[in-house]
């Protein structure tokens, strides 16, 4: 979305103090963003990282999750969610999903074994699973909850921010997220001081001090140049999300008469979705996708092959259970762009094209 960065001088002004100060490794610009983001979410602490994947890995490591452990997670997320679980040496245990594309919370208990350490639910596409039910399950079985809130910055679940329902939550600021930077970025939030202090060290090579390395860490530092971009857009994310919601509602209405050829998921009134992805379930998905692309609409599929059916899963034997809802959705899902730089006339065009497609088809 080049529009987002079209005002070059604004970004130069944001970057100037960083360049002039030479603070390219953590420092005051990062700290400022971390404080503001923690406050925005309603959490005590925030650690900014180089990207959302590192944020997930950092969260898992902070909770001591590693080889021999199992983590329950949905099968339809982006590769990084399960990739992070594997990166720390643990095993993803995949659940199926519900009609809002979210982790099937009711399935979780049947998947718990003595090796299960945590549940890693995803606020997929910027909508959310039933967080209070998830919390209950976590408490009942003494499991940690790590929220993958990468797509849900600016969202609300019953008035609370995604990422504030758990021990620890990870976010991404990849360019396609509701709060994004000009490259990769991410963060972790937590209310737990011990976890926070451990993560601060781990993110920076495990150093408690320049000359003292407490444990092997990594380099997961956010770029200060990106932290200032994030800090700037933090003041805009609510309005971005508002526009996305308006666009989503508008398109939902325009397409409602095409049900059941085109179905949008149930929307929960007390929640505020971010619509990081606006996804529909459609008949003849592949043909509709090709049709939209050839007419200049950058539609996509998130994703045609769910995680448990990927070669990476097969190699690890993670594909043993059938997950029929997700597998069927994978055949029918289509993502339509409705971000804040899309306007009504764009959506009118999209709606016309979709209507035309089904009219010609039938």
């Amino acid at each position: 979305m080049p529009e987002q960065f079209s005002d070059h001088s604004k970004f130069f002004e944001l970057w100037r103090p960083v360049l002039e100060s030479g603070e390219f490794t953590l420092g005051p610009f990062v700290e400022k963003f971390e404080k503001r983001f923690a406050s925005y979410i309603g959490s005590k602490y925030c650690i900014a990282t180089n990207n959302g994947t590192d944020a997930l890995i950092l969260s898992l490591r902070a909770l001591g999750i590693g080889p021999g452990d199992e983590v329950i997670t949905p099968c339809n997320s982006f590769y990084a969610t399960s990739g992070a679980i594997v990166a720390v040496g643990a095993k993803p245990v995949f659940t199926d999903v519900d009609d809002r594309y979210q982790i099937d919370v009711l399935e979780i208990e049947s998947l718990i074994t003595e090796k299960t350490k945590a549940i890693l639910p995803v606020h997929w596409a910027g909508a959310s699973p039933d967080m209070s039910l998830l919390k209950k399950i976590g408490e009942k079985h003494n499991l940690k909850i790590i929220e993958d809130a990468c797509m849900a910055i600016g969202g609300k679940v019953n008035g609370k921010s995604p990422g504030s329902f758990s021990d620890i939550a990870a976010y991404s600021m990849h360019p396609l997220k509701s709060l994004n930077v000009a490259g990769d970025g991410g963060m972790v939030v937590t209310d737990n001081k011990d976890l926070y202090q451990w993560m601060r060290k781990y993110r920076n090579h495990g150093m408690s001090h320049r000359d003292v390395i407490d444990f092997w860490g990594a380099n997961m530092r956010i770029q200060p140049l990106q932290a200032v971009v994030a800090d700037y857009f933090l003041d805009h994310v609510d309005s971005f999300v508002k526009v996305r919601n308006e666009n989503a509602n508008y398109l939902d209405n325009l397409l409602s008469n095409l049900d059941p050829l085109v179905k949008s998921p149930p929307r929960i009134q007390q929640n505020l979705e971010t619509f990081s992805l606006y996804m529909l379930l459609v008949q003849s998905r592949d043909e509709l996708l090709a049709y939209l692309l050839s007419n200049g609409v950058e539609a996509k599929v998130h994703y045609p092959i769910p995680l448990h059916l990927q070669p990476a899963s097969k190699e690890m034997g993670l594909n043993s259970r059938l997950l029929p809802v997700a597998e069927q959705q994978a055949k029918e899902l289509i993502t339509i762009p409705i971000h804040q730089y899309i306007n009504k006339s764009h959506m009118d065009l999209v709606s016309e094209l979709i209507h035309k497609f089904y009219k010609d088809e039938v």
Binding site: G83, A87, P175, I213, A218, N219, Q310
Partner: protein, 368 residues
């Protein structure tokens, strides 16, 4: 504490390329493409050419670069990797990240791994040697490569501190199965944040790295292995493309200052070594003195930001406790750790600052 002679100042090198840097910024902002685009591809090409290697893969920093190189080379749990304990912690930490065990070997007084000690450290579990080209001086690669060849071991150069350095005319990063570079702000070639790159002549290694660093994706919908996000930002790649053509000039400036320090200080401290067959790039100017601690304190107190890289070697760090090393295991590294001190040195460093450093050091030794 604000120093009158700081360890580094990015001002001179940034100001001189302000126009080009601004153009680079604008180009990336206009493109709207911030992840894995033409800037990264272009920089990978020019950097590989600079290092006289065939290929390069841009990465997020010099630590995850080592991690994914080890992974791409099939190094993992149960394997041993031979390296020196006086490097920056990242070398050993990356070995631990893939589940392998660092096996330390002492250095020589060139600060680099002593090849004559390597064979005694080889066991049936040894998979690779990771020489670190510390401070900007290439390790003895002819001997290291021949040992590796004899024992069927991989060689991964940790070149984080030695971009542009040469050994018998060959560039750092062109000797091993692969090499890892860092463009951290304190490196001779630096980005405006964290960045790194891996060079290799082995296409299958580079291809594997490009998959691992991008979530294991061979295409948008196919995850062939669980990967990581270890990508080089388009923005940083664009800056690095502006910086790279200036590197040799900056290196010459560094060498000039280093030689000035050498000439002025060789009677009172041990100045860094350099031999005829190599080009030391002086990422760090490291002197040795038995009165290091007092000298450092004296310099700091008088406004000169002298730093130690590093006072506690890796084998004596809490993180390495489980490896059961102790004081006395690596006499040269341990001696060096007590004696080394890095002086401020950077392209564009004013002559008055250099003079101040020199005169303070001479004063320190003269007054005793």
């Amino acid at each position: 504490m604000p120093y009158s002679v700081p360890y580094v100042d990015f001002g001179p090198t940034t100001r001189s390329s302000k126009v080009e840097l601004t153009t680079a910024f604008e180009r990336v902002l206009d493109s709207g493409k911030f992840v894995l685009g033409s800037e990264v591809k272009n920089f990978e090409k020019v950097f590989a050419a600079y290092c006289e290697t065939e290929y390069a893969a841009g990465v997020a920093n010099g630590t995850c670069s080592l991690h994914i190189v080890f992974r791409a080379l099939g190094i993992g749990s149960g394997d041993e990797i031979i390296t020196a304990p006086n490097s920056f912690i990242a070398t050993a930490a990356a070995i631990a990240q893939v589940g392998a065990t660092p096996v330390f070997v002492d250095t020589d007084f060139d600060f680099n791994i002593d090849p004559s000690l390597i064979e005694d450290a080889i066991t049936p579990r040894t998979k690779a040697i990771v020489p670190v080209h510390l401070t900007g001086r290439v390790a003895k690669m002819n001997e290291i490569n021949s040992i590796a060849k004899k024992h069927g071991l991989l060689v991964v150069e940790d070149s984080a501190q030695s971009v542009g350095a040469t050994y018998h005319g060959k560039k750092a990063g062109s000797f091993g199965d692969a090499a890892s570079f860092s463009f951290h702000p304190l490196k001779n070639l630096h980005a405006f944040g964290d960045a790194g790159i891996i060079t290799s002549n082995r296409i299958e290694v580079i291809n594997e790295l490009n998959v691992i660093k991008n979530h294991g994706l061979t295409d948008r919908s196919t995850c062939s292995q669980w990967g990581l996000n270890c990508r080089l930002d388009e923005m940083q790649a664009a800056f690095l493309s502006v910086q790279l053509p200036q590197l040799d000039d900056w290196t010459e400036q560094r060498r000039k200052i280093a030689h000035y320090y050498n000439d002025a200080l060789s009677k009172v401290v041990v100045t860094p070594l350099e031999e005829n067959h190599e080009k030391h790039v002086y990422q760090t100017y490291v002197l040795r003195s038995e009165r290091r601690d007092e000298l450092k304190e004296f310099l700091n107190r008088n406004g000169v930001e002298a730093i130690i890289h590093y006072p506690v070697p890796i084998h004596l760090q809490p993180a390495a406790g489980y490896l059961n090393y102790k004081q006395g295991d690596f006499p040269i590294v341990e001696t060096l750790a007590k004696e080394i001190l890095s002086l401020p040195l950077y392209p564009g460093m004013p002559r008055e600052f250099q003079d101040q450093v020199v005169s303070l050091i001479l004063k320190f030794f003269g007054s005793k």
